[in-house]
Amino acid sequence: MAEYLFKIFRYDPDKDEGTKGRVQEYKVDVQEGWTLLDVLVHIKWFMDGTLTFRRACSHGICGSCGVTINGKNGLACETQIKDLGTQVITVEPLRGFRVIKDLVVDMEPFYDKLYAVKPYLIAYTPPPTDGERFQSPEDRRLLDGKYECLLCGCCTSSCPTYWADKDFLGPCALLKAAKFSLDSRDEGWAERVNAIDDKHGIWRCHTIFNCVEACPKELNPTRAIVELRRMTLKGRL
């Protein structure tokens, strides 16, 4: 057990409207094995019920609790306090998104980017009526590193290009586009390329690699964007 100081961003839409929000400090005795989400829940249940954040699964699979921790994006539920290496810990909402309340941000613009890339398998050849379509293990392996995405927003929120250009599709949506474009079963490239071959699409990425660093699942959206560029150029030839 050790005492840590948490500096947490607060914004109450009823009281703080028109301001940039404030920072509130909480001293918490952190138990062995506690994650940041454990701390946030502890504060909410036993110290200050007004502290507001999103959370669900609590073990890094639902993607609800993306926040900025000591300046770096991550999921609160799988961030071990002792691994942060500091006694003073700052917690802020994901940047690049409008704050609704405290650590809760408006993710709608982020989801809109996903909808724009046609985030679903497009197949015109009818599948067999009494069985699965076949896919070789090698073809299936191309989806590894892409299908695991949680849509937590940590990548897009960390992207300086997205901060500057809110129409940029962003790493998450483009990773999603790559997932389908690289699926041997997908026949939707001609449709999907229209959405991504755009100045706010694949060409806007400056390969800064913040998204790679931010992804809690260690996925690589930058590489996916490069693959999409290659496919797009190949299609133009």
């Binding site: 109450d12 839409p13 009823d14 094995g33 829940v41 909410k44 249940w45 036993f46 200050d48 019920g49 007004t50 507001t52 954040f53 999103r54 959370r55 669900a56 699964c57 609590s58 073990h59 890094g60 699979i61 639902c62 993607g63 609800s64 799988e78 071990q80 609704i100 309340k101 809760v104 993710m107 989801y111 996903l114 909808y115 046609k118 985030p119 679903y120 398998l121 197949a123 599948p127 009494d130 069985g131 699965e132 379509r133 076949f134 896919q135 070789s136 293990p137 073809d139 299936r140 989806l143 299908y147 695991e148 949680l150 849509l151 389908f180 699926d183 079963r185 997908d186």
Partner: protein, 612 residues
């Protein structure tokens, strides 16, 4: 058994029907802004596999469907399922629907309704192929088919043979792959979602459901959803326990709302404890880890399952493995005498672990500080799944009396429902299957119903009253008790006193604790008095839902004086078919819990002794 979906023609008429164009003016619920009254053909609560599958079926049939979820759809707890979805595809070796049927019934300790179980295993094949066609990134066999793995309780030849490869898998992220795929297809078809809407009540008149009332979490405000057809796919309640695999959002909302409205709940005493939750936390280590060959070992390094299930060992069903673990712990063979054991994967080798159990490796590194390639993972039984729920028929229609009378206009599917396909104990990989098959069935049946029913029934003007009163009461609650204290007391005690092993004394103590917590709940205060994104408000109402549900679980566990499946009474350690081969129906009233029973549907397999 009916494979058909509702031939509803001529079966009933709308009473006092109002043409849709005139109807709006007639239905102005008191206390609700008219902009907050929504009308859809069908309204679904919950966006897990059951809710989204139903939404797709309704949308494909051309109906206007809305899905309410208190979180964003892809955060639903189906995403946390890991190991697989069962279907006798026989992609790698011989398998048959009938074997899957038998295993499900035997796994249920013969409490499953066999007509429903048979239907589920038959439709399993269709559902898995549909998933593949929709785009699920299943793992593949060398010849390109859907990969399947071993799971507990799934065996060959009507229980007589060895284990069988039946669990269709996407590595160890199967739930995530299925849920995201369904959501993607909902996006494709333009299903209307209301994310971050928290359901507070259903609207009924007589034995008919007319819609529901919900709270808009982001903006605040009570909304009324007026619908011809309502589906609850609202999930389970295992957050009642402090050691749990479940999401913080699994808080029994659907069950409690049904109880509030005087409807019964079925078989709630059957709570599944998963044998391998990360020690002290409860997070899931998939049964697939044992399916791939993982061992369970105690402090002496013994594979203790030899004592409890010498034939199937670690792949015995979950109730049996969880009891074996707890027995080892009670007899002092937990690791270092503590309340945990080990699952050892080291002999599988790094390659297999990385290829087939990548998420397990990640979870144990992040939450147990252990790389399973190098060291065993500390585990303990963890609250996981509700076998019981809202009683429905095989077309997922909610039964107002729990037995035969339909609550017209209402369906339930997934973990919140009890068809019953799982009886007293669910087999691993049958939950994704149940949610998918019954979500699909509910959607098809609702679509058939909507073909016939053209009108919305007028809403009672006071339909939102109870919900508004509850929200106002919570927002103004200014007593002395913190909801957090009440919740923690409930969770810690439920795991101790209403867990893997139960007895009359501890259950009676637990019942008194719950009654005391319910009294304390009336004297709570909450800090957040605002209306916008008030998580304090939501969690406090969820706590009421949990306390009510806990009361029925404990009362049911006290009432059932036998041991069957996941419900094990040390003071009644035998299954008692003479008196208890029947489903419990429980009504929660202010005076306590009232019980009734209904027979188990037995079509093919007579109850026999259950050994593995």
């Amino acid at each position: 058994m009916s494979e058909k979906f509702g031939d509803y023609r001529g079966s009933f008429k709308c009473v006092e029907s109002v043409p849709p164009e005139e109807a709006k003016e007639l239905h102005e619920p008191v206390g609700v802004d008219l902009h907050n009254v929504h009308r859809h053909d069908a309204v679904i609560v919950g966006a897990g596999l059951a809710g989204e599958y139903a939404a797709l079926e309704l949308k494909k049939a051309g109906h206007d469907v809305a899905v309410l979820t208190k979180i964003f759809p892809t955060r639903s707890h189906s995403t946390a399922a890991q190991g697989g979805i069962a279907a006798a595809l026989a992609n790698l070796e011989e398998d048959h629907i009938e074997w899957h049927f038998f295993d499900t019934v035997k796994g249920s300790d013969f409490l499953a309704d066999q007509d429903a179980a048979e239907l589920m295993v038959r439709e399993a094949i269709t559902v898995v192929y549909e998933y593949e066609h929709m785009g699920v990134p299943f793992s593949r066999t060398p010849d390109g088919k859907i990969m399947q793995r071993y799971f507990g309780g799934h065996v060959k030849d009507f229980g007589r043979g060895p284990k069988v490869l039946r669990a269709c898998m996407a590595a160890d992220r199967t739930g995530h792959a299925l849920l995201h795929c369904l959501w993607e297809n909902c996006v494709k078809l333009g299903v209307r979602f209301y994310p971050e809407f928290f359901v507070l009540d259903i609207i009924t008149e007589g034995d008919r459901c007319l819609g529901l009332v919900a709270w808009d979490l982001i903006n605040g405000g009570v909304h009324v959803f007026h619908a011809k057809a309502v589906l609850f796919a609202s999930g389970g309640y295992a957050r009642l326990f402090n050691i749990s695999t479940n999401s913080r959002s699994n808080t029994a909302d659907g069950l409690a709302i049904m109880m509030d409205n005087g409807f019964p709940i079925e078989d709630l005493e059957f709570v599944q404890f998963h044998p391998t939750g990360i020690a002290g936390k409860g997070f899931l280590i998939t049964e697939g880890a044992r399916g791939e060959g993982g061992y369970l070992i105690n402090d002496k390094g013994e594979r203790f399952m030899t004592r409890y299930a010498p034939s199937k060992m670690e792949l015995a069903p979950r109730d049996i493995v969880s009891r074996a673990e707890w027995q080892e712990i009670m007899e002092g063979r937990g690791i270092g005498g503590q309340e945990y054991l080990y699952i050892d994967l080291r002999h599988l080798g790094a390659e297999k672990i990385k290829e087939r159990l990548p998420q397990i490796r990640e979870l144990s590194m992040k939450f147990a500080g252990v790389d399973p390639i190098e060291a065993p993972i500390p585990i303990q039984p963890t609250a996981h799944y509700s076998m019981g729920g809202i009683p429905t028929d095989i077309n997922c229609r909610v039964l107002a009396d729990g037995k035969s009378k339909w609550l017209q206009g209402m369906w339930a599917a997934g973990e919140c429902a009890c068809v019953s396909v799982h009886g007293a104990n669910r087999l691993g990989t049958n939950s994704l299957l149940d949610a998918s098959v019954h979500g699909r069935r509910a959607g098809k049946d609702m679509a058939a119903y909507l073909e016939v029913v053209e009108c919305w029934e007028p809403l009672p003007v006071d339909c939102a009253k109870r919900a508004i009163e509850e929200v106002e009461w919570v927002l103004n609650a200014d007593g002395d008790e913190r909801p957090g204290d009440i919740r923690e007391t409930m969770q810690v005690n439920m795991y101790r006193k209403c867990g893997v092993f139960r007895n009359e004394q501890e259950l009676t103590e637990m019942y008194d604790i719950i009654k005391d917590l319910q009294r304390r709940y009336r004297n709570i205060r909450i800090d957040d008095k605002g209306t916008r994104f008030n998580l304090d408000l939501e969690e406090t109402i969820e706590l009421r839902h949990l306390l009510q549900t806990a009361e029925v679980i404990v009362a049911g566990a006290l009432n059932r004086t036998e041991s069957r499946g996941a419900h094990w009474r040390t003071d009644y350690p035998k299954r008692d078919d003479e008196n208890w081969l029947k489903h419990t129906l429980a009504w929660r009233t202010e005076e306590g819990v009232r019980f009734d029973y209904k027979p188990v549907v037995i079509t093919r397999f007579q109850p026999e002794e259950r050994k593995y």
